[in-house]
Amino acid sequence: MLDSDDIISAIVKGYSSFDEAELTLLVAEGDRQAFLTLYDRFASRVYGLALKMLGDPMLAEEVSQESFMRLWHRAETYRPDRGAFSTWILTITRRVVIDRLRKQSRQPEIAMSIDEHSWHEPPDPDSTSESNRWRTLRFLLDELPEEQREVVELAYFHGLSQRQIAEHTRAPLGTVKTRARLGLEKLRQAWFEGSRSDDE
């Protein structure tokens, strides 16, 4: 909980000194400045995810707006002990996209239409920051065998069910499931190795 000193601190130092959990508590109290601080920190991540999933800038904008409005209305449901704020807001964004896709029965363009060049710079091996680890995960995703990466991306970013993926890839359902497992296992293994090396 935030106490009076925290609130005074926010006024004096500005909201940039607050972490996401503290800002979310303020948003739950109806604090617009705290909300906009969170928006400024995460808008590019939210919009980036929506754009990757939908491939349409206008729809990505609508989804980003809906995601942030859910933050505004439901900030009190965020539990810092269950995970990072970034994961929470991006999970909301993904759900909004998937809901839209399934309601409209519209499948997005599979091809990416945005320039990912800057994101594809090799990660700095000396850095142990969280963002660097995520960036490494992006590389690992790209390095998965094509058929495993395709299944993971169609499922997670395009909202296709296992049967729809089987139809799309013309592979048996069992093969689709195995590819999903193999792909996620590789990502999981790399992810936990990254976590361990960061802890050392």
Partner: protein, 248 residues
């Protein structure tokens, strides 16, 4: 699903990616609620799937998005939220102001509570009048359909017109629920997905209820309506016992 038969790793991976069909996903979810071993097996897949969220490259949105959101939050200020001024009155820096506020508050609290009560009652009555108007209007609509409700100790009918975005349920026999629970209406899509159609609060002594079910699309796009018992406030997807169903 038998608890002793564990979920295979392939299925858990597809579950973590959110790609199981709704029915299978619900079955797996129910098993996971009961099975620690499968929950542990899922954990690694879930962590990798969460990581995927962060793998999308950040892209700066258009400036108008921020402006649109500011405009929207200016209109949507939930009533329970407090202003900066109200929070400042809680600061230890203003004990005198706080004391005065407390006295004024004590003097006005009775009146304020009464006003709140009247406003609440007025809102409830207005909502009820509106629901009655919708129900009457639907009866007068051409090509209206009436189907029977199926449920244990629950009976009644559902009235709808295929091209409208709402239906009306007339139900007898719904029992009041314990505190912390509420009835939730679900519209069933052809692929089995459920969309919330609203909440029904049954009070003691209410033998009959009339509920307007609001749909996100025309009723003809749905295969049925169901009602389940959910935690107060409702759920994103059905989690509780089904008490009635209607085939549209």
């Amino acid at each position: 699903m038998d608890r002793s038969i564990h979920i295979d790793q392939d299925t858990l991976a597809v579950f973590a990616l959110g790609a199981l069909e709704p029915r299978e996903s619900r079955r797996v979810g129910m098993h996971l609620d009961q099975c620690e071993r499968c929950r542990a097996n899922l954990k690694g897949f879930k962590a990798a799937a969460d990581g995927l969220l962060h793998s999308a490259p950040p892209v700066e949105p258009p400036a108008r998005l921020r402006a649109n959101i500011i405009a929207q939050i200016s209109k949507a200020q939930p009533a329970r939220r407090t202003s900066w001024w109200q929070r400042l009155t809680n600061l230890p820096l203003a004990p005198i102001a706080l004391g005065l506020s407390a006295i004024l508050l004590a003097l006005n609290v009775g009146l304020w509570l009464q006003v709140q009560e009247v406003q609440q009652l007025e809102a409830q009555l207005l909502a009820q009048v509106n629901e009655d108007r919708i129900a009457q209007g639907l009866y007068a609509y051409p090509d209206v359909h009436r189907v029977l409700i199926e449920g244990e100790n629950v009976y009644g009918s559902a009235i709808y017109e295929e091209y409208l975005r709402f239906a009306v349920l007339y139900v007898w026999g719904l029992e009041p629920l314990p505190e912390g629970q509420i009835y939730q209406v679900w519209l069933i899509e052809p692929d089995g997905d459920r969309v919330s159609g609203g909440l029904i609060d049954v009070e003691a002594g209410e033998e009959f209820i009339q509920a307007v079910v609001r749909a996100p699309a025309m009723i003809k796009g749905f295969d049925g309506i169901g009602v389940t018992v959910e935690p107060a406030g409702g759920s994103d997807q059905p989690t509780g016992v089904k008490v009635l169903g209607v085939d549209l």
